[in-house]
């Protein structure tokens, strides 16, 4: 059963204004994808209407992070 989704659509006459509207998911083209590298695992989902992205979600899982080296110096060095 198709869900009702909230998407962003440009309204006629208001080219800069993308208003959130409710739309039946069955009217949208759905794609998903992702990739993995040393830094992250990323998954994204997109919903298209007439070739334009009207909804896009992403989930990033961080893998590679920041570290500092702690140093205790010797006296007289």
């Amino acid at each position: 059963m198709a869900e009702i989704l909230t998407v962003k659509l440009k309204r006629n006459g208001w080219p800069e204004d993308e208003a959130p509207v409710m739309i039946d998911e069955s009217l949208l083209a759905y794609t998903e994808g992702g990739f993995e590298d040393d830094n992250e695992i990323t998954k994204w989902r997109e919903w298209h209407l007439d070739g334009k992205i009207v909804k896009r979600a992403a989930h990033v899982t961080l893998k590679k992070n920041v570290a500092a080296e702690a140093v205790a110096a010797m006296f007289g060095k």
């Binding site: 962003k8 830094n39 990323t42 909804k55 896009r56 992403a58 990033v60 992070n65 920041v66 570290a67």
Partner: protein
């Protein structure tokens, strides 16, 4: 004369744009954080801090930055320059992180990682973003901790979730070896 200046400005503008594009966010523990932990500015450790009379963890936040920003090791405090605009359900300053697990040792490496994912709900980002700054939100100065980068993302009317790595001495979000 006007035409000459117009002619001159075209390559100047192109060079400036190219120069600006060289700016990028860099993943790093900020240099200031290394100093600030020695000064006792941070408590990422929950309630097990017997060395201090104020025995509670500070509050930390993650703010998102446009791919054109230049956050990195040189940051000292939370900076609004290059942050996502406060539109489309993004709140300036970002989202709170949960520090449910105090810093711990894994052999000789100390590490700490937020204990839950951070989600920006029903977000429409003001542009493509590729970095998050972790900073201390308990102090008015909002001391910077670290910058974490990822592949550039644009979000439209949906959630953006940042999931933390495994909290150990190899992959923990903040590590001191």
């Amino acid at each position: 004369m006007k035409r000459f200046f117009r002619w001159l400005m075209v390559p100047v503008a192109a060079y400036a744009e190219r120069f600006l594009l060289l700016y990028a966010n860099s993943q790093a523990m900020t240099s200031a954080f290394k100093r600030d932990i020695l000064k006792g500015f941070h408590n990422l450790g929950g309630t097990d801090n017997p060395a201090r009379s104020v025995n509670t963890s500070d509050a930390y936040k993650l703010a998102l930055y446009l791919a054109t920003a230049s956050r990195g090791a040189g940051d000292t405090v939370y900076n609004t320059t290059g942050e996502l605009a406060a539109t489309g359900n993004y709140v300036a300053g970002g989202e709170a992180v949960t520090l449910g697990t105090p810093p711990a040792l894994d052999s000789t490496t100390a590490h700490v990682t937020p204990s839950a994912s951070v989600t920006w709900t029903d977000l429409t980002s003001s542009g493509a973003f590729d970095a998050a700054l972790l900073y201390n939100d308990s102090h008015a100065t909002k001391y910077a901790v670290s910058v974490h980068t990822f592949a550039s993302q644009s979000i439209t009317a949906a959630d953006f979730t940042l999931t933390m790595p495994t909290n150990d001495g190899t992959t923990g979000l903040i590590r001191i070896a």
